[in-house]
């Protein structure tokens, strides 16, 4: 029962943050509501027993990635976005389409819930077990992600660094 109450509280905070991200005009307000979404998602992970994932969610997502976003917003001095006139057909067809699709998906999912409920702490995701899995069964993907991160670092430095020097006018080809 407590589990369900906690799920509902943090789930509604999560949805409220996501809707606030859409409603806000200023990017910094959107970024802060995304932090709210990520923090409440970390609580949902804890409810599912995924302790390591919850910690990583707070440290990497709410910490590192969002700091990067806020830093770029402040660096570029991004102001409130100007609204553009969307097409009327998109509004007329899109809103009912989203509603119908959402209700349909929710109905199918809730109707198929002959599955067992998820118990609190049924699957302990301790860092020790996760580490064993990463460094034994998933060693190759782990190494590949390290190469990916290396390439991403180099790409970010090249893209955001000083622009390439223009070729001199009198330079020979």
């Amino acid at each position: 029962m407590l589990h369900l109450i906690l799920f509902l509280i943090f789930g509604s905070i999560c949805v409220a943050g996501a809707v606030n991200l859409l409603v806000q005009r200023h990017p910094i307000s959107s970024a802060l509501s995304l932090v709210v979404v990520m923090a409440s998602l970390a609580v949902e992970y804890l409810l599912l027993g995924a302790e390591f994932v919850a910690a990583v969610q707070v440290i990497i997502y709410a910490g590192a990635v969002m700091v990067l976003f806020v830093f770029v917003i402040m660096l570029l001095n991004a102001g409130a976005e100007e609204r553009t006139q969307g097409s009327r057909v998109a509004l007329l067809l899109g809103v009912p389409g989203v509603l119908v699709g959402g209700v349909l998906v929710a109905w199918v999912l809730l109707r198929q819930s002959g599955t067992q409920p998820v118990a609190l702490g049924a699957l302990p995701g301790y860092p020790k077990i996760i580490g064993n899995l990463i460094f034994h069964d998933f060693l190759l993907p782990f190494e590949v992600t390290s190469i990916l991160i290396l390439i991403a670092i180099m790409g970010a430095v090249v893209l955001a660094g000083q622009p390439a020097t223009q070729s001199q006018p009198g330079e020979e080809r």
Partner: protein, 100 residues
């Protein structure tokens, strides 16, 4: 005890909010944040299924998704800075040509 479908519905709502933000937002940074929101929605369903089937592989996958999202954020924000440097705008409606 929470049924698995509740988690999946929450995950679907988050993903739908991300898609809507991706479509209606005009600021390139906010569009990027909508992509992060979609990734978070998928992560929630990964963890819920991991708990449901008692397999920890789902949580490992969340870890990999986070790594890819972090790499994507670093490169994407670098691209945003490069675009802003040449166009002096963040509005995607004004960034509709490859040529300057």
């Amino acid at each position: 005890m929470v049924p698995l479908s509740y988690y999946l519905v929450l995950s679907g709502i988050l993903f739908a909010c991300g898609v809507i933000g991706f479509l209606i937002k005009r600021n390139i940074i906010t569009i990027f944040m909508s992509i992060e929101l979609m990734l978070n929605g998928v992560n929630l369903s990964f963890v819920a299924f991991a708990a449901h089937w008692q397999r920890l592989s789902g949580q490992i996958f969340v870890f990999f998704v986070m790594v890819v999202a972090a790499a994507e954020a670093a490169v994407g924000l670098g691209i945003i800075i490069a675009v802003f440097r040449t166009r002096e705008t963040l509005n995607v409606d004004q960034v509709n040509l490859l040529k300057l």
